[in-house]
């Protein structure tokens, strides 16, 4: 949800009364123990909520709630700590991977993950991202690429597609002025410290299943002390893309995925 809307109704937490959503008639499946009952503030159809749920499910299935520490970014997911029922730290904009490094270095037996948007991870935090990956910190980085600055109201992100409109590229992203979208995941995959690097999406049931597997792998490799796992999740931002959720998922499929193709960029080598 964008900050400007928060400013106009900053009691949004009360606005969505829990009772009106969580009635038994609506119950299709249950909430994992690793998610709190706090209603999420994300816009309808936003990929952040799905990504949260997948992470929470994996933590529950691996039974590592008491050993996991998450790091929230500055971005729409800034309140992630309200939703995950685990210990969490809210980092400064872009610094989540450095914060995760600090935690992991002093608590090497715990599971540590950061959860970061594209502005957070690939613009202001590029330095921390590259060096955390290059050191091969034994953590999991979840990278939410929605091609836009969601929280601040739809400005251009480093990942905004060529020609894509944002509030700061009203005529569409022009490469002469703004350069090309940054495929940071492809860069990360080159680094020897990175053990596992993959790109997934959450816009369809099939993609969601694969995304969950990738997150599962990331935690599993951490348990095995293999080094850094990097999972990019290509998501939507219906609000700032100015589309309905359904339109946004279609647009994502037709525009984002050709430029950000799904699949593994780096998988563990067979060990002899």
């Amino acid at each position: 949800m964008n900050e400007r809307r928060m400013l106009s109704d900053n009691h949004y937490e009360d606005v969505i009364a829990e009772e009106s959503v969580c009635i038994s008639d609506n119950l299709v499946y249950d909430r994992p123990e690793t998610l709190t009952s706090t209603p999420m503030h994300y816009c309808p159809g936003c990929g952040h909520g799905v990504a949260h749920r997948l992470i929470a499910e994996v933590i529950e299935e691996l039974d590592i709630q008491d050993k996991t520490i998450g790091v929230a970014p500055v971005g729409c997911a800034v309140f992630a700590y309200n939703y995950f029922n685990i210990d969490m730290t809210e980092a400064a904009h872009g610094r989540a991977s450095a914060v995760a490094t600090g935690i992991k270095r002093v608590l090497p037996e715990k599971y540590v993950f950061s959860y970061q948007g594209d502005g957070d991870l690939a613009a202001i935090g590029t330095g921390e991202t590259i060096h955390t990956c290059n050191r091969g910190e034994n953590i999991l980085i979840i990278f939410i690429n929605n091609g836009i600055y969601g929280m601040t109201g739809g400005q251009m992100a480093p990942t905004t597609l060529v020609g894509m409109k944002s509030t700061t590229t009203p005529m569409g992203r022009d490469v002469h002025d703004m350069g090309y979208p940054l495929k940071i995941t492809e860069l990360i995959a080159q680094l020897p410290g990175v053990y596992y690097c993959t790109r997934v999406a959450v816009n369809s049931p099939n993609h969601v299943r694969k995304a969950k597997k990738a997150i599962y792998n990331g935690f599993k490799y951490q348990e095995l002390k293999k080094g850094l796992s990097f999972v990019e999740i290509v998501t939507n931002c219906p609000s700032n893309w100015k589309m309905t959720p359904v339109e946004s998922n279609k647009w994502l499929e037709e525009n984002m995925l050709p430029f950000y193709p799904l699949g593994d960029l780096k998988v563990p080598q067979k060990e002899n």
């Binding site: 009691h11 730290t89 610094r95 935690i103 270095r105």
Partner: protein, 356 residues
């Protein structure tokens, strides 16, 4: 048995960190303090298992500190002025989230890239907040290498007592020079599970959240009021200063850190000329000894503040004095250290009633 050693300031401080049971150091090289990181890289891990990591920048170091401090471990970083400037956003987060940690600023002269020579020109930044928002660091100003050692231990104690970042504000001269120090015995590294720390949520407790975000104005104001109440308590309990011959003095010199030592020398020279000179040295710069300075102003004729900056502590001295008597100033900048003789000359002038 006493353990006496001849040591360089930065190395003595690093040795003290190991002995104080520090769990982790994150830092980035910058003159004149790189010896801290170098000494720890060589000594610390092998001796105590302490984590030592060279970060890619001071921005990364302070955010590693933020993460690691949030687990309740004893963590520290050090840098010099330009690097400390880069840490300000992180320090603001740490102060708001109330995380204990130790930050060392071995000050060099600015502004800008400045010079690698010693200075005290980061006083304002250290004691008035530095980053955005209303917050305070507890600031210790050692004047000897012995105090660099002692303040490292004290700094960790205060950081945990108050859940507040503590800064040791020293300078390039103290960092680089050698003196005899008495080292305290090793304190064992032990890990205590603190109720607020992020160590993994167990079934028997609520989850720990470390954040500085309180989007509702009422909550953010409450956070601020809580911090302010804490700072008032720190002001009541933690003021430290050294006062030498201030009760009978006509002229009182006020200085912190290294400069206070030069002032003592100047005061001795003045005594030989029959002038009664006191020396007042704040040891904590936040909290600042306003009341004591105001009290000693009752008996003296004039104050002379001496600093290696353009007059930063001077403003706090004037606030403390509140117009009771004139406050003169000597300020050296750009890495130049004032000499006892120039201070003496000014004392003599002042004493003869000549004020500049």
């Amino acid at each position: 048995m006493k353990e006496l050693k001849l040591m360089k300031g930065n190395e003595a401080l690093a040795e003290a960190a190991i002995r104080a049971g520090c769990d982790a150091y994150f830092g980035y090289p910058i003159t004149p303090q790189s010896e801290v990181l170098e000494y720890l890289a060589k000594e610390a891990h092998a001796r105590t298992g302490m984590v030592v990591l060279q970060a890619e920048s001071e921005i990364a170091s302070i955010n590693m500190i933020y993460g690691a401090a949030g687990t309740g471990k004893k963590v520290m970083t050090s840098s010099s002025s330009p690097g400390i400037s880069l840490m300000q956003e992180g320090l603001s987060y740490i102060a708001c989230a109330e995380l204990p940690c130790l930050i060392v600023n071995v000050v060099r002269a600015g502004p800008g890239l400045g010079t690698i020579q010693p200075s005290q020109s980061d006083y304002f930044q250290a004691v008035k907040g530095g980053g955005h928002g209303d917050y305070r660091l507890i600031v210790l100003a050692p004047s000897t290498i012995q105090e660099m050692v002692d303040h490292t231990k004290l700094g960790f104690e205060l950081a945990f007592k108050w859940r507040n970042p503590v800064m040791i504000l020293t300078d390039g001269a103290l960092g680089q020079m050698m003196e005899k120090v008495e080292l305290f015995p090793h304190i064992e590294r032990k890990f205590e599970l603190l109720p607020w720390a992020t160590t993994g949520k167990t079934k028997d407790r609520e989850r720990s959240i470390i954040t500085s975000l309180h989007i509702q104005p009422e909550k953010m104001q409450e956070t601020n009021l809580h911090l302010q109440r804490k700072y008032r308590s720190i002001e009541k309990e933690e003021i430290r200063f050294e006062s030498r011959n201030c009760e009978e003095a006509d002229v009182i010199l006020l200085a912190f850190g290294l400069v206070a030592r030069i002032c003592k020398k100047a005061a001795d020279l003045a005594a030989e000329k029959g002038i009664k000179v006191g020396v007042f040295r704040p040891i904590t710069l936040f909290p600042f000894p306003y009341e004591e300075i105001n009290r000693i102003a009752d008996n003296a004729r004039i104050f002379l503040t001496v600093e290696m900056n353009a007059g930063q502590m001077l403003e706090d001295v004037k606030l403390a004095v509140n117009g009771k008597l004139p406050v003169e100033f000597i300020g050296r900048m750009g890495g130049i250290i004032p000499t006892p003789e120039e201070i003496l000359n000014r004392i003599v002038e002042i004493n003869e009633g000549v004020t500049v």
